[in-house]
């Protein structure tokens, strides 16, 4: 430990630093000991593999499990590099580190601190593995029907496929949607019953009734013991995070010194490291789709605007000139600008008063009374209905567009009659 200076403040700092680091490692899952951190400052090789593993745990979006632990160190290292790169880690030295864990602990320590500085990492990791005590429902749609993990490779469709197979798959999908609807209705009914029957049980007055997890705990005491143990473990982690947050400033002072001991990077173009060939088109396909849509829209607008501009000019020439004329035109311009500005803000700011990301605990109350931080089902229903209407409009519009396009392509043929299916 650094006790070079004599002033008492430094003495206090020197004592506070190990505590801060200890709190940090307690707050992270399988965090390495403070000794590892100290060794990493001096770029000792023995600290390297622990830091690779920690970074892997932090960066992997999948929840922890035995599967993760069994991945080889080289693979973990490569994935860490790829993840850091995709998050925009600026230092090129990271990409050049050997993947066998033989050196580079200081760079890894810097990378870890970079992540810690950018976001509330320990809290996020805790939230990922949080013990859900209540019946939870997420309000945001970001994980609604998204599948987790890489898509399973499908053996079948390796060659050309008949379009009827595509139709069949679509039919299967529609069936699954219907199945989901009915299963979900049943689940809600049962959940509601359980809430109703256990009202008055809960020690916490604001909740009032048991959740399925809690009732299940009463039914199955072994499971209950397990739940209790996990809960207490989470409490210890929470306390560690709070301690870390209080002791943080000391850590950042120390990290500045760590950064100081690094040699400055030469601004050379680092060679692009090779990454695991994962799903290569993720994000890219989306970009192309949007570009194409916008281009179609642009075409359409170009024609429409030209037409209307010409028509307008012709009309305007006929009308008189005058101050009220130009005043009226200016007023129109301002109104339009304001409207379009509001429209632009719709997508520039991510939906203003959005309900918080993260799960809510479902609570049944006959009177539906809710505190200010709580959400009422009725309001959420309203929001969802408007979203539904919006999405339905988009879908219908797309379908209309297709109908026109297909009519254009196919209608030119003589000798065929196209009988559309009966309407709804």
């Amino acid at each position: 430990m650094r006790r070079r200076r004599v002033d008492p403040a430094a003495g206090a700092r020197a004592g506070a630093l190990p505590e801060a680091i200890a709190a940090l490692s307690r707050s992270l899952p399988s965090g390495p000991s403070p000794e590892i951190f100290r060794r990493a400052k001096f770029d000792r090789p023995e600290a390297t593999s622990a830091l690779w593993q920690l970074l892997f745990r932090v960066l992997s979006p999948l929840p922890a499990g035995n599967a993760l632990a069994s991945i080889a160190l080289e693979v973990q290292a490569r994935l860490v590099k790829s993840a850091l790169c995709s998050q925009g880690y600026p230092r090129p030295a990271l990409a050049q580190l050997p993947e066998d864990g033989s050196q580079g602990s200081r760079e890894l320590l810097l990378a870890l601190s970079w992540l810690l500085a950018r976001g509330p990492v320990p809290e996020q990791m805790l939230a990922q593995t949080r013990v859900p005590l209540g019946d939870e429902m997420t309000v945001c749609q970001c994980e609604a029907l998204a599948s987790l993990g890489p898509p399973a490779p499908h053996m079948e469709a390796e060659g050309p496929v008949d379009v009827r197979r595509v139709q069949w798959l679509m039919g299967k999908l529609r069936f699954r949607w219907r199945q989901l609807v009915s299963s979900q209705q049943e689940q809600c009914a049962l959940l509601s019953k359980i809430h109703l029957y256990t009202r008055g049980c809960h020690s916490d007055q604001s909740l009032g009734h048991l959740s399925v997890t809690e009732a299940e705990m009463l039914r199955d005491p072994e499971g209950g013991q397990q739940l209790l143990r996990t809960l207490e473990h989470e409490n210890r982690r929470l306390e560690a995070v709070l301690a870390w947050r209080r002791a943080e400033p000391v850590f950042w002072q120390w990290m500045d010194t760590v950064l100081g001991t690094c040699a400055p990077e030469a601004p050379a173009a680092a060679s692009q490291p090779t990454f695991l060939p994962w799903v290569p088109e993720c994000g890219d396909g989306e970009l192309e789709l949007v570009v194409r849509e916008l281009q179609t829209l642009e075409e359409e607008l170009r024609e429409a605007v030209e037409r209307r501009r010409v028509a307008w000019e012709a009309k305007a020439r006929g009308c008189g000139r005058g101050p009220e004329w130009s005043a009226a035109r200016r007023a129109s311009r301002e109104t339009v600008e304001k409207e379009l500005g509001a429209l632009q803000r719709c997508w520039e700011q991510d939906s203003g008063p959005a309900p918080a990301h993260g799960p809510y605990r479902l609570v049944r109350r006959e009177d539906g009374a809710a505190g200010d931080r709580d959400l009422r089902a009725a309001e959420l229903i309203r929001t969802l209905r408007s979203q539904e209407a919006c999405l339905e409009a988009v879908l219908r519009q797309l379908q209309r567009q297709c109908r026109q396009e297909l009519a254009r392509l196919a209608g030119a043929l003589p000798g065929l009659i196209w009988i559309p299916p009966p309407g709804r």
Partner: protein, 433 residues
């Protein structure tokens, strides 16, 4: 037949959607299993899950009591009935008397008086239950009909059981006695209360003390954490920003690189922009202007929209170029595009537990149904765009002869215009010469 790469893309996309639905269905079914089990009859303390089957029990001395019971049996029956009534009365008195902790009832597993444990963990029973081992089977029958609401009455039952044991004597061949008790108990049925169900006795349940303590500690810690988050100390924030800047400068690059995550977020924003713009364009194009003022405004709006579309396209070209010069970094482990907290970008993630209050089953069902509908619509729109991108070029490029083209057209129409729900009919109408 569709070309190979097109087929692959379409099938992959549809299969991905199918997998996502299957996953959700699995989650729902798991939850349904748990809920259904909770709504049936269960024993709050032990892990008693099944009823002893009558058949295998009839092995020994006792003849099936299906025939007329002997006088001794009748006496025992009467004794048992009285004992049962007494037990019920005692228990009712207890439950009226007030609440007691559930904790003792959890501990009662180690006490002899829980036949439930023997039912589910037979190897344990001899050691655990000790002298009452032989007793537990017959009393299982007893308990079957007098299952307590909370398991507290176990404290009382031993006395009853002792008496019955004394009364019945050392006659504890498990099977016969058990069966007899079942039979007798069913004879005595009108008096005996029913098995525990959430419906009837749910409101009497209580959570164990240890759990309550841990849960309240947990929620207060989360609240502390979230309040600390919002009032993050100035030192720490300043220190962090400074550190990030220092790292940036030591890296030899002045501009931070565009990360894949940022590119994705921007693409999503522009996607949203695109759909909003398109909706607005539709509105304007379909509106019928009444007078010149409206017409003028319509024109201006369309021109403004055109400019905005141009801006978005330009931004997308820039992104494309930026992505191309640094190779598009593949996503790390797992699929990140949807799994990343897309809406957590703007909103502050709150850590403390929040409530979603509903007032009736119907409300909850409506809410859940709407959520699902919005998710399904999202999926449908995405599929529609993919299908449009793949199928329309095929239809326009294909030679319009032969039945395969007609199949393609029909399929394309059904998929693109009817969501795969309906198919149109094509009638060949050859002119008769």
């Amino acid at each position: 037949m569709l070309p190979a790469d097109c087929s692959r893309r379409l099938v992959d996309e549809l299969q991905g959607a199918l997998d996502a639905c299957a996953q959700r269905q699995l989650q729902l079914e798991q939850s349904l299993r748990v809920c259904r089990r909770l709504l049936q009859a269960w024993e709050p303390t032990g892990t008693w899950a099944w009823e002893p089957p009558p058949e295998p029990e009839t092995n020994e001395e006792d003849p099936l009591p299906a025939c007329t019971p002997s006088p001794q049996d009748l006496k025992e029956l009467e004794f048992l009935t009285r004992a049962l009534e007494k037990a019920v009365g005692v228990r009712r008195g207890i439950t009226k008397a007030g609440e007691r902790n559930k904790a003792p009832s959890l501990k009662s597993r180690s006490i002899v008086t829980s036949p439930g444990t023997t039912a589910s963990t037979p190897p344990q029973s001899p050691g655990q239950v000790g002298g009452h081992a032989s007793d537990t089977r017959p009393t299982k029958g007893l308990r079957q009909t007098t299952v307590p609401a909370k398991g507290r009455p176990e404290r009382r039952l031993p006395s009853v059981r002792d008496r019955t044991r004394a009364g019945i004597g050392a006659r504890a061949p498990r099977s016969g006695a058990g069966l007899r008790n079942q039979h007798m108990a069913s004879l005595a049925a009108p008096q005996a209360p029913e098995a525990f169900t959430l419906k009837e006795k749910g409101h009497l349940l209580r959570l164990p003390a240890a759990f309550r303590k841990a849960a309240s500690q947990n929620s207060s810690l989360w609240v502390q954490l979230s309040s600390m988050q919002t009032s993050d100390s100035m030192d720490a924030t300043a220190a962090k920003t400074q550190f990030l800047q220092n790292v940036q400068t030591t890296s030899g690059r002045s501009q931070p690189r565009l990360s894949a995550a940022e590119v994705e977020a921007e693409v999503r924003r522009l996607q949203k922009a695109c759909s909003l713009l398109r909706l607005r364009v539709r509105e304007e194009l379909s509106a019928a202007p009444m007078d010149w003022m409206q017409e003028y405004r319509c024109l201006l709006t369309l021109e403004g929209l055109q400019a905005m579309v141009g801006q978005c396209l330009q931004r997308l070209q820039e992104l494309r170029a930026a992505v191309a010069e640094q190779p598009p970094l593949p996503c790390p482990v797992g699929r990140s595009p949807r799994a990343l907290p897309s809406c957590g970008g703007g909103a502050e993630p709150t850590w403390s537990p929040q409530l979603l209050v509903y007032s009736s089953t119907q409300e909850l069902q409506t809410l859940a149904a709407l959520k699902l509908r919005v998710a399904v619509l999202d999926q449908q729109i995405h599929l529609e765009k993919v299908l449009m991108a793949e199928l329309l070029p095929l239809v326009s490029a294909a030679q319009p002869e032969g039945p395969s083209w007609l199949t393609l057209c029909r399929a394309a129409h059904s998929l693109l215009c009817e969501g795969g729900a309906r198919v149109l009919t094509i009638l060949r109408d050859e002119p008769v010469d």
